[in-house]
């Protein structure tokens, strides 16, 4: 018999038992919507994670010093982040630091792979002062590569000149938020102004050469007012090193040239620098890239999402059992109808198809409602968690297909039972 007729028939029999059909669908609706909601939230978390990591620079390699494992312990820790045991933390001292010499040799050794090197020397946090106005800042000295590594573009002014770097000038690049506090947002006025900087116990005078656009960091929580917001202030690296009386650094970031394989270059970099630390008793070099971290985090997230979705799938299973149950009831109720159809000449296959289509229609309608509900729920959840809502098209299609499959799976037994009824018994059924 025609599929169209079967669908019409199924819809009319659902209409005849609206409440029952709805309750049966509810199981499917709950199952599908929870799977979809979880998948949507999972996809949202994944994309927000990718965005965050991307903003941290997925193509950057962070190189740092870490304490050597003591030989006698003999076991190596696999994961990247190793922490020294309590009480035996050593901080690298001046003679352990990476020197500018090493960095230069590294750049010369990999001229095509290294785009830039970012070194940052932090100073004590403090305030910029103009008359009675202030702006909280966290000052640090940065190398040229810093701006590239952190994707920082200037709104006004310029980067440090070679002259300023060589002469260890007190030139500063500040945020637009600081400009708002000190110069009522007038960037033209800010550029070239000389202002006081209090950093720890130091009183300095800096000249503003550039303004960058402040971006809320993915990790900045809390609700400091605009006025008390602490933003970064950048000085030339040599200037900051003078203030801290140092000439090296304990960590730096390498910006890889596009198209490089992060994983292999991470290990090359680690090997390159470890040569310098062969004879260092306390420290060795450790390098990692965001992209490799991102990969493992994403796959971990995927596993968790799939796991939870599978649990939600149990709700779908229960829904499917409900469908089977109601189909069995429906077939018993319609025994005479089945007998009549058989007497009129319906072959078993037509009867089977009729009830299979009915079960599938229940599941498909439930599935469609579930998809809509689940997407809405997932988007609300993503909104609440402040993440980009990403309804996953593939999971919607899979869910619809899956709800059809549930219909076929749980509808087949009742449909087959109907098909195999003896027409005489069915006609006589009271």
């Amino acid at each position: 018999m025609l599929l169209y007729e079967n669908i019409r028939l199924a819809l009319s029999s659902l209409r005849a038992n609206k409440m029952r059909a709805f309750l049966t669908m509810l199981g499917i609706i709950i199952g599908i919507s929870s799977v979809i909601a979880i998948m949507t939230v999972g996809a949202s978390m994944e994309s927000s994670l990718t965005d965050t990591m991307g903003s941290l620079g997925a193509t950057n390699i962070t190189v740092s010093l870490q304490e050597k494992e003591e030989e006698e312990e003999g076991e190596s820790v696999e994961m990247g982040m190793r922490f020294g045991g309590p009480g035996r933390m050593r901080t690298p001292s001046e003679e352990d630091y990476f020197t500018d010499e090493m960095l230069r040799e590294y750049c010369d050794y990999y001229p095509d792979a290294v785009e830039a090197i970012s070194v940052q020397e932090s100073l004590n946090s403090g305030q910029l002062l103009v008359d009675k106005l202030y702006a909280n800042v966290s000052p640090s000295g940065v190398s040229d590569g810093f701006f590239l590594a952190n994707d920082l573009e200037l709104k006004a002014g310029r980067y440090f000149s070679d002259h300023e770097i060589e002469n260890h000038s007190m030139a500063a690049i500040i945020s637009d938020k600081a400009v708002n506090n000190l110069f009522q947002g007038d960037e033209e006025q800010a550029i070239g102004s000389t202002v006081s900087l209090v950093s720890g116990d130091k009183y300095l005078t800096v000249t503003i050469v550039g303004v960058y656009e402040y971006e809320q960091s993915a990790y900045s929580f809390g609700n400091t007012s605009e006025k008390d917001l602490t933003t970064d202030l950048y000085l030339p690296l040599p200037t900051a090193r003078d203030l801290n009386h140092t000439s090296g650094t304990s960590s730096f970031t390498v910006v890889m040239a596009p198209g490089m394989d992060a994983d292999s270059f991470v290990s090359s970099t680690e090997q390159f620098f470890n040569v310098y630390y062969r004879n260092n008793r306390n420290f060795e070099v450790y390098a990692f890239s965001m992209s490799s971290m991102l990969d493992s985090l994403t796959s971990m997230m995927g596993t968790i999402t799939t796991g939870i979705a599978l649990i939600a799938g149990i709700a779908l299973l229960v829904g499917g059992i409900g469908v089977m149950n109601i189909m069995l009831v429906s077939i018993t109720e319609r025994t005479r109808e089945i007998g009549t159809r058989k007497a009129i000449g319906a072959p078993n296959s037509a009867i089977r198809m009729q009830f299979l289509v009915e079960a599938m229609v229940i599941c498909l309608i439930g599935g469609i409602i579930g998809v809509i509900l689940g997407t809405v729920l997932g988007m609300i959840a993503a909104k609440v968690l402040d993440m980009p809502a990403t309804p996953s098209v593939s999971s919607i299609l899979i869910s619809l297909g899956f709800s059809m499959a549930v219909g076929i799976f749980f509808g087949y037994y009742p449909a087959n039972k109907a098909a195999k009824m003896d027409p005489i018994d069915a006609l006589r059924y009271e």
Partner: protein
């Protein structure tokens, strides 16, 4: 009469239930029956006489334990289940005591049903169903559902449905059993019209001697065997 086409040809039909168990029952004990094209035949008998079993076998809903049954030239003994479905669809029109219309489905759709299973196109079955409903005087109730029809109206729809694929025989099992006498009369008149005007072969199963008398030939069953066969008085449609 003998040179007419044989619609039903039964020889030595035996039907046993619970075979090889202590409560084995023989519902039919060797029935021979021949029904010719265009004949109006009544099968009468008390309950338990084997009427229903005979009807089920004639309608190919059931198979005999022994014996040969040929329906409109088709040997039913050799037919598979799907072939029997097809035979029922093409060659038999059932009319039941309890109408057995499909609930929640319009009269028109009910009449279309056998044509649907026969694979007729939508347009064709629609036209034919409308024509059949006009024939039984139900043209202004086509869109009504069985729940909205009276007993007599339901039975008229059922007769239209039985005519769906222009079957070789119409098999009516107590068609007036659930109707009052005037409605029953109307339904019987409809059968007479089908018989006389359309030349249909009709087998009427009934326990009412008066109704049986209206037919051309009366077969009486008792304890699973034919005990008498005689001509009926007949009936003229007014």
């Amino acid at each position: 009469m003998e040179d007419r086409r044989r619609m039903i040809e039964m020889t030595g039909i035996v039907k046993k239930y619970f075979i090889d168990t202590p409560n084995e029952i023989s519902a039919l004990r060797g029935v021979d029956l021949t029904v010719y094209e265009g004949e109006f035949l009544a099968v009468v008998g008390a309950s338990g006489s084997g009427k229903s079993t005979l009807m089920n076998i004639i309608g190919t809903l059931d198979r005999p334990t022994e014996g040969q049954y040929t329906l409109d030239g088709v040997d039913t003994n050799a037919a598979k289940d799907t072939e029997l479905s097809n035979i029922r669809n093409q060659k038999v029109g059932f009319v039941f005591q309890t109408y057995n219309l499909i609930a929640r489905t319009s009269a028109l759709m009910n009449v279309e049903l056998p044509m649907l299973y026969a694979g007729m196109s939508r347009k064709e079955r629609n036209e034919r169903a409308e024509e059949l409903l006009r024939m039984v005087g139900m043209e202004d109730r086509m869109k009504h559902r069985p729940e909205e029809l009276s007993g007599g109206q339901k039975q008229r729809v059922a007769i239209a449905r039985a005519m769906g694929n222009d079957p070789s025989i119409i098999l009516a099992d107590e068609p007036t059993g659930a109707l009052d006498s005037s409605t029953g009369r109307m339904v019987m008149d409809l059968f007479h019209r089908l018989h006389q005007e359309k030349g249909k072969t009709i087998v009427l199963i009934t326990h009412s001697p008066e109704l049986a008398e209206e037919t051309e030939r009366i077969i009486t069953l008792k304890d699973g065997a034919v005990i008498s066969e005689r001509e009926g008085i007949g009936h003229a449609v007014v």
